[in-house]
Symmetry: C3
Subunit: 345 residues, 3 copies
């Protein structure tokens, strides 16, 4: 059970201004729809005004412009969503691991494991690997030869990190993640593919979270690099020699092909694809489902998605799309006939 806090105690730790009874006792966070009398919720979009009016939460976190929308006890702050994140962290701290090694774990005598680390059942830590203080290696995980896991990092069950990789501090790596597998490096010769040994590493900075079943390939020659504070959702694929700049967030099912370089503070929407060898500037936002086929030098939001429609309408329009150049030619003929200016020459 989380430790309860009054609104006054929350504000004294996290800032913000209490409006209403500061002694309101809060035990957990909740959603606008389902929070109870001892739970605190948040309000960050005016489209949820109706839900705010109907909420039975004991308190709400909101911005200054919204504080008049409710009479329940509230904490007014600048960035309600970020504030709520911190409130939730207060009520739901990540548990520190109990140090120790399960008897069925296999830890090489040639590995260095901090005394405060925890290695769960069936996990394997290979020769020369280094496991930092308070690291938690989940069941059936595999840490390859010479790989370093920074302090306070957590690997949920069934994570594989190949040899000679480096993972920074406070990483959160979810189940099924594979880090350091061979990049897709083959050379064609006489109609067959020759494997190019992948001898680079994967280097991951501090405070990186990696979602379930995401894969990050090792470099072909040089390294694949994920900088500090990057957040990757589930089933993301990062090819060899990619570089992802610090504090970039990448949603689920995104694929980033080899040697692409993504800037800092970017966001990449779900199922987007970045082709290989491209360079994206800092603060670029890619919309979900968009395929990026050339480098982007300017910050901004970029999109390329076929708008969906009822199937019969789509069939009609899609068929015409195949003849778009014919249509343009026909317009050009009409323009010549009428003597209007053809902007496209």
């Amino acid at each position: 059970m989380p430790v309860p806090y009054t609104l006054a105690e929350i504000a004294s730790r996290l800032g913000g201004c209490v409006v209403g009874n500061p002694d309101t006792l809060i035990r957990q966070v909740g959603s606008l729809e389902h929070a109870g009398a001892d739970e605190i919720t948040f309000f960050s979009h005016f489209r949820h005004k109706g839900k705010l009016a109907a909420t039975r939460a004991g308190a709400v976190v909101l911005g200054e412009g919204a504080q008049g929308l409710t009479v329940i006890p509230r904490i007014v702050c600048e960035n309600p969503y970020a504030y709520f994140a911190r409130v939730s962290q207060l009520f739901n701290p990540a548990p520190a691991p109990q140090p120790g090694r399960h008897p069925t774990a296999h830890v090489s005598p040639a590995a260095r494991v901090a005394a405060s680390a925890r290695i769960d059942a069936g996990a394997v830590v290979e020769d020369e690997a280094s496991i930092g203080e308070r690291v938690w290696i989940g069941a059936s995980c595999h840490v390859g030869r010479g790989t370093l896991i920074g302090e306070d990092s957590k690997m949920y069950p069934s994570v594989v990190v190949y040899h000679e990789c480096r993972i920074g501090r406070r990483a959160i790596i979810h189940s099924g993640v594979v880090i350091g597998a061979d990049g897709f490096g083959v050379a064609e010769e006489g109609g067959e593919w020759i494997k190019i040994p992948q001898i680079g590493r994967v280097i991951i900075g501090d405070d990186v979270e990696i979602g379930a079943n995401t894969t990050i390939d090792r470099g072909a020659i040089d390294d694949t690099v994920v900088e500090d504070g990057v957040k990757l959702d589930n089933q993301v694929q990062i090819g060899h020699n990619v570089r992802i700049g610090s504090h970039t967030a990448i949603a689920g099912c995104v694929g980033i092909a080899g040697s692409a370089s993504i800037g800092r503070h970017c966001t990449i929407g779900g199922a987007a694809v970045i082709l290989g060898h491209l360079k994206l500037a800092d603060r670029v936002n890619i919309s979900a489902g968009t395929l990026i086929s050339r480098s982007i030098n300017e910050p901004g939001t970029y999109t390329g998605v076929f708008p969906f429609d009822r199937n019969d309408s789509w069939v009609r329009n899609a068929a015409l799309l195949r003849h778009l150049s014919d249509l343009a030619d026909r317009v050009r003929v009409l323009e010549k006939l009428l003597g209007t200016k053809d902007k496209n020459g």
Copy 2:
């Protein structure tokens, strides 16, 4: 080896009408192309008429309208494909697990495990987990603290279910599936991302099948819900707080972003993407590869895919697509000149 049945025995169990020798002995199901004299096949599409004519199968399941297309022994029924599914289940029943625990499995003394359940090598069952009757937990699986697995469910090797989730009865969960990992919940503050603890659960109904390497995230605050009879193919990604209505089928590589709500009896084609917070009505069919960017209130089939073409044609048309608004403007100029009605104002 499967137990053999005569056509008469099959029809007495599953219905349908035998035409031809009812004593024909069948030992297994087969395809139209490769079935042998002791195998039964099915015919459900007239485009396969040629294959039916050439088949060497001992018998065939088909609809009334097709029964004249062959002279081999046959079972005539309303829904040949569903009938064939049941025939195949008759010849290929799922084996019941041998109860027991492998000595290398790690089962917490604080877990409840039914006497008829089977726990394979290297599997881990954490505190307060509950494993129902006849459940089969495959090798290297992980069942988190407080998670419930309903009776007759099967987890193939290397499945991970995080803490406090619930999986219904008769689930089939394939290898590499991760259920209950943290949703992608981060709040931006000063250019960095703050993690929002994910305290909801994943709740899965009865008779759900989940394909290999699919991921289903736990809810941020409230739960992620997959209702009864849902079928998920491989490498599907279900974000936090998604709800999937009963008897919906989702093909491989689909991504469903957070808080989307999918209706009942929907089908979602492979590699489609459903953006977050959308609501899809019951009986909506999404074509493969389509990105759904707004809610759909009406049943029907929806599509949005760029039609592929030879690369040179695509290059020409795609370039014009970027100038489609110019083209529309030019047509409008011509219409004004000629005094025709501009439907788009």
Copy 3:
């Protein structure tokens, strides 16, 4: 540490012509940017001329047309990229496994395991499985009942191969791969889905590499087949009864739906989707992100991707796309008025 070779020794093993000091001693391969004085790099694209001029590598592999671009010692050959692959294999040979079984591995007494094979911690080999000479089964892998793994194949940790599958010689299978899970076979009846038992197998030829977290489903009735020399990147999904022709290469995140047949010597770009039951000829190249919705009978390159743009431009053009058939109608009206020939009738 790799064994060093002089340029003369390399050329005597791999062919090519040394220009410059044949006694130059090389210890490893390196990239144009980062190679040092004892490393050999390669040059295969003229767009990297600047990097070649600046390289500090001890030697370079290049084609005849490029040999005048540098004065550093070099090996001139026909196919520099393939040559470089072989040089890298020379310096980075795959280590042969130390034979043996880890005490925590579970190998059925009814399995056949070659004396030279290696089975790592926590791996499971089921009844009647057959593990060939010099095979390396990584930690926590699972080889199902009756499955054959050909000689010199390697499975990295946490690979699952279901029952009755066959994997050829010299396979490289990366972590998280699942081979032989049930295909997505369900039949609709009364609004519910009936499972069709998947009784086919997965048959994989020789010299196949499979990237991390890729899934290959077993056949519904007949088999799923991956022919010799096929290379699959990460997170590829291969549906049941697919056939992939020899020496085809498939990049990351590709989905191939059930019963599709891909020719030999094809390339499929990242995140492309091939719909079910289609047939692609030999030597077809599919661009990244393209959805293939009908069979392709002619070799060539095929593409279908919405070109991305700044979001505001995309919004404008995408909205018009929904009215493309209206636009075509309006052009037709103008053409009739002016008496020009309507090519589209």
